[in-house]
Subunit: 199 residues, 2 copies
DNA sequence: ATCTCCATGTAACTCGTTACATGATTTT
DNA sequence: AAAATCATGTAACGAGTTACATGGAGAT
């Protein structure tokens, strides 16, 4: 351990978490973290490549080159024993960040300053986004159920993937229900205003 | 508008959103954004003070000094008409970030590499955190109901604050239920293992 | 011919955190 | 006497985004 496990950014654990399941190239890791699968972490390739190099320097991953279709060889990374130990130890450490930044919530908080139409379109956009995401998650969940992933033990990587997927579904459902409740409230108040104007 | 509304970080809208409700000092704004009230945005004072200065330079807020208890005078900021217009316009713009980073979810995704005891303590910590947060939110919601804030129109800042609070409650409840489901699953698998060992 | 995907990397920049710094008033 | 709260600010660093750069393979 000595030096390898101090001061790692959370991104490093996300990469180790994916590499613990399967050896992947930087490109493949970037694909996984572009639009996060089961709603947990995202990163761009420009952040991932230097981080992988740093992790290799620390002995947490091992890179191996192979001829690739691009101008540079493809580098496939494999997690080391030290990397796996670092990852395992991290799970037990206290969680520092519990979210705390949500652009949609901030917009709604501020929406009293805007027109009803702007608020409605904001909520409609959010509803469409969450409905689409929920649809993708449900498809994935059904595939998990058909494959019996939900009955696997928690020591199986497929089960923990299923667990985070379930939270993703709960999250999208909760946001959808809230968007719809708010739309009803915002719509209802403008309707009653219209009714009042008719009188 | 000219120059004032281009390239503002989300933090600026969070600050404008609070200042649109009431004139506040940088310190008071930092208090509000330390541990976010209704779960939407957080920031430290070292980020807030320079951002307020930049916003004043752009004419979005107006600062006024008054004698304070510290070595420097207290500076109270008021939103300008330009600031309010900028805030209002922002609500209608498409939302760029939908979250995407969640340390607890990442830890659970990775927890198959760790001991059951580490996973259990991780989930217990999360459960305690979310239960405490939910308690605070429910207290606040009850106060809102007693004050009739839930029956206010969506053009009232107190109503939009209540709306984000409701989402906060839904969020905490959803996470709590999920933590408990996962704890049962993790606990159950270790129990069945014990039973299997007894046979 | 142009576009997208594969596959890597760097440079410049913005955003966010931790730590340093000052000093009066109030609480323990 | 020590600590916390009020109240502001800066410096150094770390994390994250956008844009630049290269070039082959396959699709439209």
């Amino acid at each position: 351990m000595s030096d390898a496990d101090r001061g790692l950014p959370t991104l490093a654990y996300a990469l180790l978490g994916l590499l613990a399941r399967d050896s992947l190239s930087g490109y493949a890791l970037a694909q996984q973290l572009r639009d996060p699968i089961a709603h947990f972490w995202e990163a761009r390739h420009s952040q991932i490549y230097p981080q992988l190099a740093e992790m290799e320097r620390r002995g947490l991953v091992i890179g191996a080159n192979a001829a690739g279709p691009g101008p540079r060889p493809r580098r496939t990374y494999t997690i080391s024993a030290a990397g796996l130990a670092t990852l395992k130890a991290w799970v037990g450490e206290p969680t520092r960040r519990w979210g705390g930044r949500d652009e949609l919530l901030l917009k709604v908080y501020v929406s009293w300053t805007a027109d009803q139409s702007a608020t409605i379109s904001l909520l409609a956009e959010a509803e469409a986004h969450h409905a689409a995401q929920l649809g993708r998650y449900l498809t994935e969940r059904d595939a998990c159920h058909r494959a019996g992933v939900d009955r696997l033990p928690p020591s199986d990587p497929r089960f923990t993937g299923y667990a985070t997927l379930r939270r993703g579904i709960g999250h999208e459902r909760g946001r959808l229900a809230w968007c719809r409740w708010l739309m009803r409230r915002v719509g209802a108040s403008s309707e009653s205003k219209v009714v009042a104007n008719r009188l």
